[in-house]
Amino acid sequence: MILLCCGQISSKHFDALALFALQLESRGHQVMIDQRFMPEDVTKQIKFEAAPFLVDVEDVTPTQVLIIGAEEISEEVQRLLSLHSFESAPPVHVIGDFKDVQTEVNARNKVAYAIGREPDLFDLAAHRWSPFVEGAIAPLLSAIDDVPQQQPGDRSRVLVYLPFEKISENETAIGQLSVIHHGQDVDLHILTNAKGKDAIASSRYAELSVFGYSELPPGDLLHYFDVLAFFGVNIPGERMAVLALNAMGAGKVVIDCTETSAFIQAGAPVVKGPVQLEALSGYLLDTVVRNRSEIGQRAQQADWLKQFDMALLERNLGVDTPQMKTLPREPQTLFLPTNGNGLGHAQRCALIAEEMAEDRAVQFAAFPSCVGLLQDRGFPCVPLVARSDQHTEEFAADLVNYLRLRNAVRAGDQLVFDGGYVFDSVYRTITRLKISAVWIRRGLWRPGQVQSVALERERAFSQVIVPKEAFEELNTDYTLGPAVKKVGPIVGRKRLTADEKTNLRERLSAHFGHSFETLVVTMLGGGVASRRAAQTQFLCSLFAQRRDCLHLVIAWPHAVVANSLYGWENSHVVQTSNAAELCQASDLCISAAGYNSFHELLYAGVPSIFIPQSAPYLDDQERRARAALDRGVAGLALDKELLHLEREVSAFLDGGKSDAIRQALSELSLPDPGNAAAARLIEEGIRP
C-alpha cells in the first residue's frame, strides 16, 4: 500500500496528488493520500477525485511512502513529515524533476531531516530527454498498453480540447464541430474549462457533448474517445499533459492543433493537425479516422513515450505492477433510485428488480426514506446520505455517497440508476470503475426541464430504459439512438381478489373500530414538493360528515405528518410504503398524479380523483391527469379548486361516478407493463 505526500501544501500540489493517485490506482496499486496535505481551497472536482484516497496516517501502515513535487519542500511539509514515524519504517521515495544536483540534495536533505532517516530519490529528469511540461508537479507518467484501445467499427469517438478563448472568438467554428457531431462517422465530445462549457451551453450548439476540464480524471476520459485533438496556444497544463500521455499509452491518436505545435516541439508521437478549427473536419475524416489504430500503435511504440512509462517508476521504486484484482464475488446489479420527492423511484426499481433472473445478485443503494421499503421487499440495501442544508458544502452528501458506491460496486458489476439528474457520485462511479450502467429515465418532463446539461451524462450509460406513459401522447423522445430502449409502464402486478378486498376492509373496520360502507384513500404526496395540507384537511372535513365512510390519509413512513390531520372524525393517518392494496380495496382514491401512483391506480382500475403536484422540478402531473380525464377514466381537481373537489367527491360517492369510472377503466386498453422487459434489458446489458 502506497502513501502519497507532496512537497508543498497548495491546491496545485493537491491536484497533482489526486492525479497521481488515480494513475497508480488504475495500475492496480493500493494507494492513499495523507489527508494532512489537503489545503483549504480545493475544488469540488478535486475533492471527488481525492476523497477515495484520503487517510489519517495514524490509521495506516504503508509499504511505501512517495513524496511527489519534491523540487521544493516547504517547512510545513517538513513539520508534517516529522510528526509521524511509521513503526514499519517503510521506504520513503522523493520524486521530482530535479534540475541540478543542489535541488536534488535539497530535497533529499529536507526529507532526511524530517523523517530522521535517508529517503530514496527518483529523479524524473534523469529519465527524460527534456521536460514535457515545465513546472509540472505530478510525475507525468502513463501506462503503455500493448495494443491500441480503439473502438471497433467505422465510427470514431473524437475529443477536442478547446480553451475558452477559442470558443469565444469564433462561434461559427463551433458550428463546424456541430456538423461533425451530427455526421455519421464521428461521435464528438468537447473538453474545455468551466467558462467554455458555459459558453457552449448558452450558444446555438448546446446539444454538443461537453466535458469540463476537471469533470473527470484523465484516465477516465480515455473511455470516451479514440482520437484527441488539442487546440489553443500551448500544452494546457499538467492535467492535459497527463491526458495526452495516457492517450498515447492507450494507443489513441493525439492531434497537435496548437498554435506553437507544442506537442510536436516536445518530440511527442502525435500527428500535426490544423490550427484552424474549421479545417478539423476534413483532416479528421480524410487523414485520421481511417488510420487511427495504426497511428495509435505507432505512438505506443515510440521511444519518446518510453520516458514516461509508469513501469519505469515502478521498477525504480521496487514495486511490482500488481495484477488487477479479480472480483471476490459474483457480479451484481446495484439499483440506485434517486430520493426524489417520494418513493416512486425506489418503487419502480423494486418492481423491475423483482423481475430479474433469480441467479442474478441484486443490491440497492438508497436514501434513508426508501431503505425500509426496499429491505421489507427483501433487497439488501446500502444506505446513502440525503442532502441537507446543514452540510457545509452542497455536495457533501453526494461525496459521501460516492465513497459508499465505490465500496459497494466493483469492476464487473452493473449499476442501474433511476432518476432525473445523474449525480456526480453516480457519474464518477460508473466512469471510474468502467462498469456497465443503465439509466431508467421516465419521461413527461416539463418543457424547461429538457436541458442538455441534464441529459449530457447519458454518455456514461450503456443503456437508457424509458418506461412509457400509458397514454401515447404523453411519450416524448428526449434522446434517440440505439442505447435508448422503451418499455411499457412499470406498475405493480399484484391485484387483490374480491375476497381479499372484502377481507381487508373488514380488518380495517376492526382495526379502527369503525364500521363503514365507503373506503376513501387520500395520498397527495409527502408534502415535500407541494403543500397539500389544506386539501387534505378539506377532505377530512368532507368525510367527517359521512358516518359510513372510512377515510385513510396515506403518508410515507418517514414523513412528518401535520398535527392538524389528527382528530378528524372518520379520518386516520396511515404511514406506509405499501399503499397499493389499500387503494385497490377503496371505493375512491384521491391522489397526486406521479408516475407510480397514477399508473398503479389506472392499471388496478381504482376510481380516482387526481390532484396533480405542481412544483416546477417535478414531471408534468397535470398533463398526465388530464389525459386520464379526457378519456373519462378519472376525475381531476387542481390544487385550488376545492369546491370542484367537493363536487367531484360527491359525484363519485353519491352520483354513481365511481361505478362509471370503474366500468370505463375496465374497458380501457392499456399497454402491457414493462417490468419484465426492463429486467431483461438490464440483464442483457451485463458485460461478460
Binding site: 510545513e76 516529522s82 541540478d100 523523517i115
Partner: protein, 353 residues
C-alpha cells in the same frame, strides 16, 4: 613581502549567514586585525539575496571600523579567507576573481551528512572558487574534527584537483574565556536552543524523552515549528527563535540537552560551547561532543535522565564538571586562534622562515 610588514588578508563571505558562520567570522575578525591588514568583501549570493549583514557581524565591523566592500570584481591579498563556500550552491558563477598566495576556504558546513550523503553540492561551490581564483596554495580549512572527517571523506570519493590541500589544524570557532561560574544547586532544568530548522531537531520521540514531564523546566528556544504543533506537551516552555536573549534563556536552565536530526550533524556546535561558557552542563551526541574533547557529555537520548539525576544529586560534581568543560573550551580562546592564525598567514605570506 618585506620582513616585518603585516600580511594583507581578505575575508570573503556572504554576510547574510544568520547563525554560526557570521558569529565565527565576527569573533575571528577581532583577532585577525591584530596580525594582518584586514579587508572584508561581501558576496551577494542566491542563498541570501538582498545584501543583508548579520547583526553580530555588523557589530564587529563597527567596533573594528572596517567598511564592508560590496560589488568588488577582483580581490587580491596575501591570504584570501573564503568563509563557508556553501553560499554558492544555488548559483553557477561566483562573479569575482581572487588573487592570493594562499587561498583558504573555511568549511563551516559539513560536506557530508552522517552516513555519507552529500550535504550540499560541494563540487559546484568549490569549482566556482577554483575557476575564479589564482593562488599559489589552495586549502580547505575544517572547523572541527567531525567537519574534517566529512571533508576528507568527500575528497576521497570525488575527483577534485589535487592542488587543494586540507589544513592540518582546525579553523575553530573562537570563544572568549569569560566563563560564568556554575550554580552550586543544580536542578532538573533543561533546555535547548537553535534555529528552528528541521535539521536541528530530533524526532518527537527523542524530544519527549529528553524533555519529560518530570523535569522542573523544559525550555526550548527556537521552537517556531513546534509551536505550530497542536499536540505539544503543556510542560514545555517554547520560545520562537530570537524572542528572548540568550542570557535570559540560560538563566532558566542548568542542563543543555542538544540532539539534532540523526541525519544531520553540527559542524562545530557553537550552542554547546555557548552553554559551557554560561556555566551549564551540555549533553549531546558523541560525534558533536568530540569537538569539545571532554567539554561536553556524549550520550544517547535514553541516557539523559540518568545523567541529569546524578548531577542533581551531586551538586559538587556538577560544578567540577562544568569547570573542567570550561577549561577544555579554553583551547578555542582568542589567543589560541591568534597564534594559529598568525603562523598560517606568515607562512603564506612568505615572512615566516
Amino acid at each position: 613581502m618585506k620582513a616585518g610588514a603585516r600580511p594583507s588578508v581578505a575575508y570573503v563571505l556572504d554576510p547574510g549567514f544568520p547563525g554560526g558562520t557570521s558569529s565565527a567570522v565576527a569573533a575571528e575578525l577581532e583577532v585577525a586585525v591584530k596580525y594582518s591588514k584586514v579587508q572584508v568583501y561581501a558576496l551577494d549570493t542566491r542563498m541570501f539575496p538582498g545584501r543583508r549583514v548579520a547583526p553580530q557581524l555588523k557589530a564587529a565591523l563597527k567596533r573594528l571600523k572596517i567598511q564592508i566592500i560590496w560589488d568588488c570584481q577582483t580581490i587580491s591579498a596575501d591570504v584570501v579567507i573564503f568563509h563557508n563556500p556553501s553560499c554558492l550552491k544555488f548559483q553557477d558563477q561566483m562573479g569575482l576573481r581572487l588573487f592570493a598566495r594562499h587561498l583558504i576556504v573555511v568549511t563551516h558546513e559539513n560536506f557530508q551528512r552522517p552516513g555519507g550523503a552529500l550535504a550540499f553540492d560541494v563540487t559546484k561551490c568549490l569549482s566556482q572558487i577554483e575557476q575564479g581564483s589564482i593562488a599559489l596554495h589552495r586549502s580547505l580549512a575544517p572547523v572541527s574534527k567531525w567537519n574534517r572527517q566529512t571533508v576528507e571523506n568527500w575528497l576521497a570519493e570525488n575527483p577534485f584537483p589535487s592542488s587543494w590541500s586540507v589544513l592540518p589544524v582546525e579553523w575553530f570557532n573562537i570563544f572568549d574565556d569569560d566563563f560564568k561560574v556554575p550554580t552550586s544547586h543544580p536542578k532538573d532544568r533543561r533546555g535547548r536552543h537553535s534555529r528552528p530548522g528541521s535539521e536541528k531537531f530530533p524526532n518527537r520521540d527523542v524530544l519527549n524523552a529528553c524533555f519529560p514531564k518530570e523535569a522542573e523546566n523544559n525550555v526550548i528556544l527556537g521552537a517556531d515549528v513546534l509551536m505550530r504543533t497542536l499536540d505539544r506537551p503543556s510542560y514545555w516552555t517554547l520560545f520562537p527563535f530570537g524572542s528572548i536573549s540568550i542570557e535570559q534563556y540560560f538563566d532558566e536552565i542548568d542542563f543543555l540537552v542538544y540532539f539534532t536530526a540523526p541525519t544531520w550533524r553540527e559542524s562545530f556546535g557553537r550552542v554547546i560551547a555557548e552553554a559551557i561558557a554560561a556555566g551549564i552542563i551540555a549533553i549531546t551526541d558523541p560525534d558533536t561532543a568530540s569537538t569539545f574533547e571532554g567539554g561536553a557529555i556524549g550520550a544517547s537520548p535514553e541516557d539523559v535522565n540518568q545523567i541529569i539525576a546524578q548531577y542533581v544529586q551531586k551538586p559538587d560534581r556538577y560544578a567540577e564538571d562544568v569547570i573542567t568543560a570550561q577549561n577544555a573550551l579554553s583551547r578555542f580562546s582568542p589567543k589560541a586562534f591568534g597564534d594559529q592564525f598568525n603562523q598560517i598567514i606568515q607562512q603564506a605570506a612568505g615572512t615566516n622562515t
